[in-house]
């Protein structure tokens, strides 16, 4: 299943692109699984997720925790804690 992955702010800058479509391996079931999988895909992901406690995630535009399942997700976004207002 292909999922749209979106990056914002310094997560985007470290990964080097604003978004991509990724075919998820069957063992990737949660947000935490996805982060582990991405870290195995290259240095830019290892760099972006080096301190994964600093990275926030939204699944289908809703704030979620690392334990959230993503098997039915269309869109997963990674970003730093928000700083608007």
């Amino acid at each position: 299943m292909a999922v749209r992955i979106i990056y914002f702010a310094w997560v985007r800058e470290k990964i080097g692109r604003p978004e991509e479509s990724i075919e998820l391996p069957a063992h990737v079931r949660t947000v935490a699984d996805l982060i582990s999988y991405l870290k195995s895909c290259g240095a830019e992901y290892q760099n972006a997720f080096q301190r994964d406690d600093l990275v926030r995630v939204a699944v289908d535009q809703i704030h979620v925790k690392p334990t959230t399942e993503i098997v039915d997700a269309r869109e997963v976004a990674f970003f730093p804690p928000v700083t608007g207002g």
Partner: protein, 152 residues
């Protein structure tokens, strides 16, 4: 209810007029305007660039507004948030609350800002006058500010 993301500036008087024109049931209107400060911890600011998550932003702001309307007797409320590159002194965000009661309008506006700062997907990048640029860190104190609404 009204939520708007915009690259251009807003005029507070016009935004209030949109909500209150031809109405005489209001009594109290509170606005909060956030502006770009010219000084940062690291030195004088050249500009501030705001990035957001289109789609999720509107969804989060609408949820926050709905929550405010559930908690306080608001006749109207509105949020306008700018994105793009802004100069020191420029407006960033506008929150408007209208109610028959002034305390409701004040509390709801403060609530909207506290939630907006911790939930709405915006990110600020500061470019200093010396040319260096850095993403603004989330502030611990904003998390503390939001906590008080969760106990009431």
């Amino acid at each position: 209810m009204a939520v708007r993301i915009d690259t251009v500036d807003f005029n507070i008087a016009n935004e209030i007029k949109k909500l209150t024109a031809n109405r005489s049931d209001i009594g109290a209107i509170v606005t909060f305007t956030g502006t770009v400060r010219g000084a940062t911890k690291s030195g004088p600011l050249a500009s501030m660039t705001l990035e957001h998550y289109p789609g999720m932003t509107e969804r989060e702001l609408s949820t926050i507004e709905l929550e405010a309307k559930k908690r306080w007797p608001l006749t109207e409320c509105a949020i306008v948030h700018r994105v793009g590159t802004l100069l020191p002194g420029e407006n960033i965000v506008l929150v408007i609350t209208a109610s028959t009661h002034r305390h409701a309008a004040f509390e709801a506006a403060e609530f909207l800002m506290d939630y907006l700062k911790t939930r709405a997907p915006f990110w600020k990048k500061e470019t200093l006058r010396d040319g260096t640029a850095a993403w603004v860190d989330a502030r611990e104190v904003d998390e503390t500010a939001i906590a008080r609404w969760q106990t009431t």
